[in-house]
Each structure stands twice: as C-alpha cells, then as structure tokens.
Symmetry: D2
Subunit: 440 residues, 4 copies
C-alpha cells in the first residue's frame, strides 16, 4: 500500500520564477489555467466493499505551474531515448522541443544520440542541436531521430558530460530499466554537486509500467496487431484445419495480446503470462483446438511472448553466461507442438505461425498515441521547468500525474486475471477461465 510519503515527488528547490507560459490562475474565467501545486488525484478511485482503501495517498497532478524553478534564459535541456523502438518516440521529442522552445523560451536543447551511450563522451557521439526546424516533420516517421540503444552508462562519465554541456534538465524516455538508470544518474549528479532535474517519460510498448494506465505506442501496437490477426484469420479460414498462431509482444504482461484480441474479435484463444495454461489433458489447449477444428474447421491463437514459460524446456543450454534463464520462443514452440499433436492423431491441419514484432515497433504513432505523446511530453516539460526530479509522468484515470521513479521500477505492472480487460478477452474468445485448469 502506498503512503502519502512514498508518492511525494522530489524537487530541486522552491519555485520562484514566474512562468512565461502566460495562463490564468482563476478558475471560471474561461482561460486555461496553471495547475496549482495542491492539485492531486487519489491513487485508487473505485470504491467497493472488497477493494482495500489506499489510505489517503494522492498523486500530484501534472501540468504547467505558475512559478517555475529554472530561469529559461539560463537553462539547457537534453533528451535521450533508450531501449527498443516504440511508436511515438519522435512525437515525444518534437513536443518536448516545441514546448520548451516556444512556450518557455529555452533555446538550448540537446538531443543525446543512441540512448545512454550518447551520454558517455568516450563513445564519440556528439549530441544534436534540437530546434523547431529540425523536429518539424519528424512525428510522421517511426523510429527515433536521436537513435537508441540498450544498456547502462558509466555514471561519472555521464554526469561529466551533462556538466560540460551545462544541462539542467534531462528527459529520459524509456522503460523501467531506463528509469532505474535515470534515478541512478540523478543521485550520482547530486552526489557530485551537480543536481539536475531528471524527468522520466514512460516508454514501453508492452504497457507494463505501474501508474501509467496507457503508455504511448500501446494503442498503435494493438492497431497493427489487429491487422495481423485479420491476416491470420484469413490464412486459417482458407486452409484445411487452418490454425494460425500469432505471437505478440508482452514479456511480462499480456496487455497487447488482450487488447488486440478484443479489438479484433477474431481470436479463439489468447495466452498471456498472467494466466497459466496446459497443453494436454482435459480442458487443455489441444482439446480446445480439436473441438474448434471439428466445429468450425479453423482457429486463431494469440500468444504473448512471455506466456507459457512453465511449458518451455529449461536446461543447461538455456542458461546464459551470467546464469540467467533464457527462454525459447513460445510462438515457435507452440506452433511446433500443435503440429505434432495433430500429426500424431492423424488429423489434417495446416499450422501457420506469424511473428510481426519488428514491423509493429517501428511504425509511426497512430492518432491516439500521437495525442498521448504530445500531452506526455508537454507535461514532462512543465515538470522539468518546475524543478521536479526523479519522477516520471504517469497517467491514471485519464489524469496526468507525477510519480516518483522508485515507485515504478520495483515491479512491473501486469494485467490482473480479475480485471475488466481480461473479462473482455474471455467474453470475446469464449475460452475457459483457465485453459487446462493449470496453475502458474
């Protein structure tokens, strides 16, 4: 349970400088307002006899402040994009630049190249000077104009870089690993006597960051996935005993698989990490498929990449150098198992396997994500200028909020098998609550 203490966001100091953004402080005058510092949002708003109360914990509401911490004339910002591609990265970069440049009059904005590596001068990647002209049309392209990479950075080198470039506010666009890095970077900078504002913008196509109801890229992903499922459906319907297996992204959380299933309506079984399943035995996947093939002659199965880990063989050969368990590809595994199951029973089926991951990650943001990116980015700019730090922009119950980074890096968000979304999946597919009554 969250306490008022744990949801409190750090600041670099008191906000004394009047914001140049030029909004109103009067509610009801028909003019857009600054967001007062006491504007907040309860952690949980649903109210039933069965949900425990969140004990009065409230998130700070995001938005432009009447007084800001940094003097725009003497402020430099930097933006970095980390990790795998996600639709909307360029939209976020663009709206950050435009908000900082046009509204706060911050003229010095650096684009850090290739993720955290670009913060290490030893890597030799000079940052890009980000101007309104540079970003004008970038939101129409997928990918990131800054480049991206995975992995951490030498913190001392990075702080040295930021100090050399005079960066006061750093925007870190990335997933939970990136946010852990952002937190560490901020702590190191403070410890070295160069405190900066570090603002995270959550980026995970899997939609698995806590206190962010919907991350940008997620809706684009299910949009794309719906088209792929439509293809899979066509393949399955056109073959004798056609079974199409579609693997979708979702290492720890099945949001994409679930959302795409409901949006598509053409899926017969959806398998996610949050809900175990059995292949064999009564009520198992094979039995369900057999029944479906007899009745309808075709089936579409969607499987999240992190589903069914209990089924994958784990052996010596699946340990990497550091001793981490490496998993096989559940999609390939499943398609193979289905093939051999029916072959053993001498039932003629045609199994097609589709894995659209890369093409989903690199398209441009769809309309909803474009909207979300703009709002995420501008709220991040406001938070940075107000001197907030070690926080990310959250989005909960349709409200943008400030969330302390440590709150979201301890554990990922996953889709509860008791959630409305999973109920929608069960309604749409008609699949049993537990396939094979397996336990995780």
């Amino acid at each position: 349970m969250l306490s008022p203490e744990t949801v409190k966001v750090k600041s670099l100091g008191e906000c004394l400088i009047p914001s140049p953004v030029g909004l109103s402080t009067v509610f009801g005058d028909g003019v857009v307002n600054y967001v007062p510092d006491d504007a907040q949002m309860p952690v949980t708003v649903e109210n039933t006899s069965e949900i425990a109360d969140q004990g009065g914990a409230y998130f700070e509401k995001a938005g432009p402040r009447e007084k800001i911490y940094f003097d725009p004339a003497n402020t430099s910002a930097a933006i970095v994009t980390c990790g795998g591609l996600c639709p909307g990265l360029n939209n976020v970069i663009r709206s950050l630049v435009l908000e900082l440049h046009h509204h706060y009059k911050v003229k010095n904005i650096l684009g850090v190249r290739y993720g955290y590596r670009g913060l290490d001068p030893n890597m030799g990647f000079e940052p890009i000077d980000l101007t309104p002209e540079f970003v004008e049309d970038i939101h129409k392209d997928g990918g990131t104009v800054l480049g991206s990479s995975r992995g951490p950075v030498d913190l001392d080198n990075a702080v040295g870089f930021l100090r050399d470039k005079g960066v006061n506010v750093l925007f870190c666009i990335g997933g939970d690993g990136t946010q852990r890095g952002a937190q560490a970077l901020s702590e190191k900078a403070r410890s070295l006597g160069y405190p900066i504002s570090v603002i995270g913008i959550p980026k995970t196509i899997d939609n698995d960051i806590k206190y962010v109801n919907q991350t940008f890229g997620y809706y684009t992903a299910i949009d794309q996935a719906r088209d792929v499922i439509d293809c899979a459906h066509n393949e399955a319907r056109s073959a004798i005993g056609g079974i199409a297996v579609v693997k979708l992204m979702g290492r720890d959380a099945g949001f994409i698989a679930a959302g795409a299933t409901v949006a598509s309506q053409d899926v017969n079984m959806t398998l996610v990490p949050e809900q175990g399943f059995k292949l064999d035995g009564p009520g198992g996947l094979f039995e369900l498929l057999e029944k479906r093939i007899i009745e309808r002659d075709h089936a579409v199965v969607v499987v999240a990449e992190g589903a069914g880990r209990n089924l994958l063989p784990k052996g010596e050969e699946t340990l990497d150098a550091s001793g981490n368990v490496l998993f096989d590809d559940i999609g390939v595994f499943l398609a193979g198992k289905i093939k051999s199951h029916f072959k053993d029973r001498d039932v003629s089926v045609t199994v097609k396997y589709i894995d659209p991951s890369y093409t989903i990650r690199s398209v441009a943001a769809n309309c909803e994500d474009a909207l979300l990116c703009d709002q995420m980015a501008r709220n991040a700019a406001h938070a940075g200028m107000a001197g907030r730090t070690e926080m990310l922009i959250g989005f909960r119950y349709d409200v943008f909020i400030h969330v302390p980074i440590p709150l979201v890096t301890s554990r990922k968000k996953c889709m509860s098998p008791e959630s409305d979304l999973w109920r929608s999946v069960l309604s749409t597919t008609g699949q049993p609550i537990r396939i094979g009554a397996a336990t995780q």
Copy 2:
C-alpha cells in the same frame, strides 16, 4: 451538483436469478469476478483547492452481476440504432448479440430496422432476427446493418410493438435525442403496464454526452480528420499563400476539432463553439492569418461546424418552419470571408475548403473504438439482464458506469476552455487564448 439521489439508477425489481455467466465472487482467486452491487465510483476524483467537492455522489459501476433479474430462457431483447452514422455501430450490435446469446443464452434478439421508425408497425419494417451467424463479420463494415433514421416514434405504437414481440430489454443506441426517446418509451411502457428494461448506449461522434468521457466513433473521427488535415497541409504548402480551411464535426462541442488538432500537429488555428473569436480587428483571425502568410506563406485553419455562430448572418430566411434558427455553413462562410479579405488587400492567396463529414461518419471503427464498443455493449447487456432501466452506460475516469438517462439529456457535454485538451490545442497551434479577444 449531483446528489446521491440523482445518480441512483432505476431497477425493475430485485435480482433473484443466478447469472449463467459463471464468474467468481471472490477477489484474489485469479478468476474474473462479478461486479458487486455496491461497486461505485466518485463523480469527481480530482482534488484541488479550487474544485468544489461533489458531496459524496457516486456512480454505480457497470459489469456482470451475480444475480440477475430476467430469466434468460424467457427473455427477448431488441436493439435499435438511431440518428446519424457513427463508426462502431455494427461493433456494438455484434457484441450485444454475442454476449446475450453465448453468455446469457438469450436466444431471441430482434434488430429493429431504421431507428425508432422500426418500432412503429405502421411503417412496415419487420425486425431482423439477430443471430451469431448474422453478426459474424459485421464489425468490419461502417454504417449499421439495422439501418437508422432520425426522429421520434408514436409511443403507444412502439409499446404495442414491443409487447407484441414480447421484448423485455430494449437497447437504444443513439445520442441525447435518442436517449430522451428511450426515457419516454420506458415511462410510457410502465404506464401501460408493460415495464421493460431500457438501456441506452451513448452514440455521438461529437463526444458531447455528459458522464461519457469518450464515446465510440470519436477516436475514429479524429483519426480520419488527421488524414484530412494532412491533405489540407499539403494543399496549403503547395500554393502561393495557401490557406486551407477544414470543417470538422462538432455542432455544440469542439472535441473533434481539438483532438484532431493535437493529433495532427499541423494546424495553425482551431475554432470551436466553446470559444468565440473575431475575424477583424487587432488579434483577430484575419490579422493572425496575415502574419502567418507573411512568415510562413501557408496556413491550416480547422473550424468545428458549430463555431462562430455569432458571426453568421441571422435573418428571416434562416428560420425554419418551426421558428428554429438555421445557421449557414461556417466553413463555407469562413473560406469566403478569408478570400474576400485578402482580395480586398490585394494579397495573393489560394484558399481551399475541405468538408469531409460524410466519409468520416461511415468508415469502420478504428482499433480503440472497436475496443470501446465491445466493452460498452457487453456492459449494456449486463445492465439489461440485471433489470436496470432508464439508464445508459457511461465511461468516466476509465471506468464503465451506470448513469440515469435524465442526467445526460438535460444538457450536452462541452469542452471547457480551461480543460487540459484545450490547453493542448493552444500549445500545439500557438494561437492566442482568445482570437480577437471576442466574447461569446
């Protein structure tokens, strides 16, 4: 301000029949749950010194109930779609039919033809028998397989029709006029001793129904509008002094114009009903356009159909038979005024006017709307089977709720000029808070 009394939803009677849906009543067992009757949601969750408290008013949460009112074996349902087209109508029809048929085992579902007219036997439109086979692929098409029309129905005839067909639950998919009709129908039926469950599903492409944060079709509309704005931008950039005027839907509320502006990022001025504007004078639209043409040689203007009513000529010829004020087309008016303004000043401009309304209304639902439609429809089925009546499915702070119809028919929702969305519009366009400092 809402009171606990006004948000209370009517029921036909006590729910005594165990639901056949087969969910859990235990939170934490990993199985999807029935929604308890005491699950609720505060009317307002944001908490600032400046927003007045809503005094403890809570909406009932939507969802499947453990006990239902109607015995599925003896229950007949009917579905009617009214008013103008909106992306997602077929998705709603389909999910209603599938939920009622597969999960509640209601076998008798009628599709009323051509809106409320199909409820009047004198019109000669026999209802369609809605089966899973009939609805299988309809969600991939725009329009409505039931047909639609505008206008009311003779209430006595309609109740006679429902009684003759043995309809117990009527789902009315439509806007505020349709919901007023639904309320009247329910009251008339009760007064005639044939009480039925009347469940509204909000349909307005303009997104202007209260307590429904997002109506289906709205996101598809801004998706389409974004593409049109992209075309307008291309036209404007390719001509000498190119000015493209795009009229978007929004009779009383500027949500589509605002959403499309932020999603597109290529709009320079957005005009909505909620914020007046002047054409002439200092800071007026013409002055802004002149400045923009000098600096950038092109401009894109988006205008909601209900914007600028104060500017339109009103005369005898604009009164209809009933004495209602008929308005000219603001888009045509504005494009004409811009042309003549620049012609008078001998400035060479090329004005293009684009009105994409019909093609937006009749496309299939995009991915987000497909998701929303499915959830709206299934929650409506749950409400109907539980004997709720004179209510519609609302959606607020990401939670589906039950809203008494009278709460939403008294006044439409509009976009506050102090809202986050309008702030996003101002940030994106860079337009002044009030164009021409006009007052409405």
Copy 3:
C-alpha cells in the same frame, strides 16, 4: 492517323558525348543496356479486321542513351510543377534530381517555385537549389515542394530567366496546358538564340493525356475513390431508401469514375462525360433508381465532374467575363434532382452527396504511382541529357516512349465507350449501355 513524320522527336543536335551512366551495349551479357536510338514501338499493336492500321508509325523508345548531347559538367537543369496537385509530384522531382545528380553528375539543379510564375523574375520567387539531401524524404508527402500555380508566363521573361540561370534542360511537369506552355517556351527560346531541351512529364489526375496509358496519380486517385465509395455504400445501406451520389474528378474523361467503379464493385450507376444519359423517361436514371430502391432499398451513383453537361442549365448567368460557358456542379445538381424527383413521387429516400476531390489530390502517391513516377522521371532525365526537346514521356503498352508535345496538346484522351474499361464498368454495375438511350 499518325505518320512517321508526326511521331518524330526533335533533338538539339547530334549526341557525341559518352554517357557516364555506365551500362552495356551488348544484349545478352546480363548487364543492363543503353537503349539504342532505333528502339521503337508501333503506335497500335492490336490487330483485328476492324481496327485500321496505323501505317507504320512508330514511337521512339525512352531510356538511357550511350551517347548524350549535354556535357554534364557544364549542364544545368531546372524543374517546374504546374497546375493542380496530383499524387506523385514529389516522387518525380526526387527521382529527377537523384538521376541527374548521381548518375549523370549534373550538380546544378534548380527547383522553380510555384509553376510557371517562378520563371518570371518579376514575381520575386527565387528558385530552390535541389540536392539529394533536400529531396531525401519528400516522396513520402503529397503536394509539391516546389509549389505550383496555374496559368501561363511571359515567354520573354521566362527565357531571360533561364538564360540568366544558365539552364540547359527544363523539365515541365503538368497537364496539356502546361505542355502547350512548354512547347511555346522552347520555340521562343530557340527564336531568341538560346535553344534548350524542354522535356514534358505528363501530369493529369484525370489520366486524359494521349499516348500515356496511365499518368501518375491516377491509380492513387482510384485507390482513394474506392474508399470513398465504400463510405457512400455504408451511408446508402444504413438509411431508408439510401442513395449516395459520389462526384469524382474527370472534367473531360471518365477514367477515374470508371476505374473506381470496377475497383470498388459497389457502384450501381456510373456517369461519365463520354456517354450521355437522360434523367427522365423510360430507361432514364430516375426509372433505374426507382427500380433499384424497390428491389434493394439503396443505391450508389458515381458521377464524373464532366458528365451530364447537356443536362446542366446554361444561361446568361453561366457565362464568365470572357464568354466561356461555366457549368454548374453536376454532383450538386444531380443530388438535388434525385431528391426532388422522389419527393414529388412521395417516396421516402435519403440522398447523401459526397465530393472528395481535394483530399484525393493531395495524398502521397500509392505504390503503383511511386513506381511509375520513378520511371517517368528517370526516362525524362535520359531524354533531356540526350538533347531531345519539345517532347514528353509517354507510356503505352507498358513501354515508355518519346512523344512530340504537339501530338498530345491538340486533343485530350478520353475513354471510348467501346473500350474494355467501359465494358468492365457495364459488367460491374449492370447498368444499361445507354441510360435513357440519350444521345450526347
């Protein structure tokens, strides 16, 4: 009938300079070849007892020549886009620049602003320096980066401009008016002792230029039109007696209306300029619509903008200042007539009118047009470097050819009512060969 004389293309002089493009002159060595100067293509290849022979007239085949006329080191090129927008303009500009720059090593390429107006120094539009960097991503946008305008230019001023800038080759992208202007410009330049190569690239979304089987933009247009017809179909099917009228481009030729009809398959009547029709009387449009509404309750009518001119009222008020006949909008006219026809007969219909012209013109090129643009442009570059002049790139029987400009400016291409395409329209719609047995 064409004679060998009329199809002969003009040249500035003998080609003496070896091409730097580096192809082969040996057929069969597996290496791409220069096109020999004697490569040609018969004007008509179909052979039936009923088609008159074209008497041995052959078009010169387009392509890179082994010997060229201009020394790339001392050559400057210029590109101009004229008239209304058409999908693919940026693709053509880009491929011209890349071919000239990379393959011929022509480093000096000017982009003339805003059509022929940019050739007149008095208009004050400085040309753009076109480089590979400038054009890198332009093919993904609709419109034209050069800008466009309609209308002619003062020929003396234009030749002065070209001479001042040292332009040797001018690429004129536009319709028949533009090509007439190109011819006049070339003749004037020669008469002033500054002969240049003037190469036309046909641009007409209507696809109505002779000896060009398919102009770029045409397929994109029918692609877009198909989507609009789908919307119209949805509107029509969802209303009582729904009749949707879609106006498509095609001032003198019905290719877009015909192509979109066959691609869509959902059109019931297609009206084009090449085939007259009657509204009233036996077999007239109204009778056909009545029958269709009775049988199927909805109808989709596609009308090309130039169709039905005989029906439009012509009066004093439809003469412009120069005495030209101005026509009303056939779409608006037709929709109105249909409405009043059924109203007079007290038949309840719902007429929707859709005019998508601007959004069709300004989208980016679809895949087929992108292919065509690249090939058109590179063949134009080859022709220019080989010193050809007063010609345009044609495309006939799947082969790119050189066509003298005067051959295409005398008369537009139109769709024969005896053509395969019109036969496809009749098959698809099932409409009678002559609606109302009207004569034009």
Copy 4:
C-alpha cells in the same frame, strides 16, 4: 521462338449459340463490342535492331464473343483455388460468379473446396453453391472463401466428380503447378469421353508466369512490402550501425523485391535470384555494407527468398526424401553472416531481420489488383462460355489474351537483368551491376 501453331488455343467445338450478353458488333457506334475471333496481339511489339522478330506469332485477344459454345441454360461451371494464398482470390471468384450468373444466366456454379482435393469425392469436401448473395461482400476479405490446398488430385476421381456434378466449364485459379494439373485434367476428361472447358487464371504472387505481365496480388504484395521496408528503414536509422535485412517473396523471380525497392526508394541493396552476388572480396556485399555504414551509419538490404542459392550450404541434411535439394532460409543465413562479419571486425552494428511473408499473402487486394482480378475473371468467363479449353488468361502489353497452358508451364518467367525494371532497381539503390562480380 513461338510459332503461330504453338500460340493457337484449343476449342471444344464451333460456337453456334448467340451470346446473351448483348453487345454490339459494329465498331464506332458507341456501344461496347464483342471481341471478334480474329482479334489478336503480336507476341512482341518492341522493335529494335537487337531483338529478334517473333516471326508472326500472335495471341488471340480475350473478351466476350458474339457466338458462344455452351448453352447457358444447360451449363454448369465450377471454380477451384489452389496453392498458397494471394491477394485477390475472392475478387476473382466473385467476378466469375457475377459474370456467369448475371450476364450469361448460368445458374449452376459450384465452388470446389480446398483446391484440387475438393475434386476428389473421397476427401469428403462437398462443393459450395455459389450465388450472387454468397459472393456479395467477399472481395473485401483476403484469403479464399473456397479454401485452398497444395498438391495434385487423382485424375480419374476428379473427372468422375465433374461428370457427376455435370460441370462443363472448370476455372482453375493457381500457379504453374495448378495449370499443369488443369491441363492433365482436361486431357484425362477428354480421354474418358467427357470433354470440358478448362480455363486457367494465373495466380502467383511472385509474378512469375510467362505471358502474364502482371498477375493479381503482385501489386498488393509490393504495396505491403513497401510498408515493411519503411519499418526496416526506421529500425536501421534508429540504431548504431543499423542494418535491416528484409526477406521478400520470390522463389525463382525477383519481381517483388525489385518492385518494392523502386516503390520504396529506401533500399540500399536488392538481391534477387536472377543476379548472383558474392559476400566477401572486393565489391562484395560486406565491403559495400562497410562503406555504407561508415558513410551513412545505416543500411537496408532486401533479399528475395530465392536469391543467393549458390551461397547456401548444401549437404546431405538438405536433401529431402525424394532427393530434392532443400535450401536454407537465405534471409536468416544472410542476417547471421552479416552479424558475424562485423563482429569479427569488431564493428558495432545492429542487425534486424524481418520476414513479412504470411501477412502479405493474406491481405485483401489493393485497388489495382481489384481492377485486374475483375477483368481477369470476366475474360475467363467469356473464354469458358466460348468453349476454349486448356488455356489461361494472359495479360501482355496491357491487353488480355488467351495463352495455351503448355506455353506457360514449361518454364517460369523471370526478371531479366537487362530489363527496365532491373535498371530502375540499380538506379534507385545505386548498387553495382554485379555485387562482388559473382557469376551464378
């Protein structure tokens, strides 16, 4: 070289029955005409000193005949779709049914299930009764409503089936294997005293059937492939040393890879079966990639599935049961080789591999293919009703023709490295004529 003899199409007998289609036989009367039997088309129309003459061989032109062979009242048709999916199958089925039903009044049309297997009664697949109602909306879906499968059928069983069902005309939609089967079936039927009309409709997404310039599905494939290449480009541009390898269809012919390259314009190297290449050594692929990475930091490589067979390891393990050489996946092979090449040289690159095959095959036809399918199908109906047999519908120089099946099954069409299309690829990519100067 083709002789007049080899291009002559077989007929079942003399055409004596007046066609019910109702066209004109007079050229110039403004009414669509029957195609006279002597209408023909030279095999080759281009005329250069270097192309050998085709010695007077002419293909018969396709189209409706004034006199037909079969009496529609007593005629039954059947349609079968074979092999892998291809966009447009449902369009072809639909237009066949509509042409036969509405224009020829053939009321008995069978849809054979699951390819040739559906012709064998032992397989237990009852044919579908194809009506206008059944096919009404099928053209909007990918796949085939008939189902498909690979492999031959027992000819005696198949002829028995056709005789039992009274089928007179069989339309075989498929690739070269299918057409071989069609030929065999016709010969067997004749030998058994049950001669039928067997009409092939070419279906190959690879576009590799001779005398068919463009098969349906090909343009849809490059349309889809262009989007995938765009994603690949985004991936490559966003990574340090990003190299994206896209594998496209094309087992024996590189048309898809070539077409997608030119349409996309973002490809740096295109590898096809018709042009060998080396990985190592001067001018080899690795050297080209190194240069590109140094200069531009990213690269996009497109490889057709049949390219580079000389590079793939062939060993015992790559022989199948019949002794055929099985090839590894060139895409996986190439991506791996590139990775290890740069790893060996300690150059940091990020290699992404994308294989979009299944999703390309199963989408609905794009606009151009929809047009083509309609025309292919209706011409096939005309040919069948006229009693032609053992032929397929060809498409050459923009004219639909009749081609004897044996002409196209002996050898596949491939893309000449001396063709205009390959020249376009070289121009667009800037790649050398022979990568690594390899020979195949």
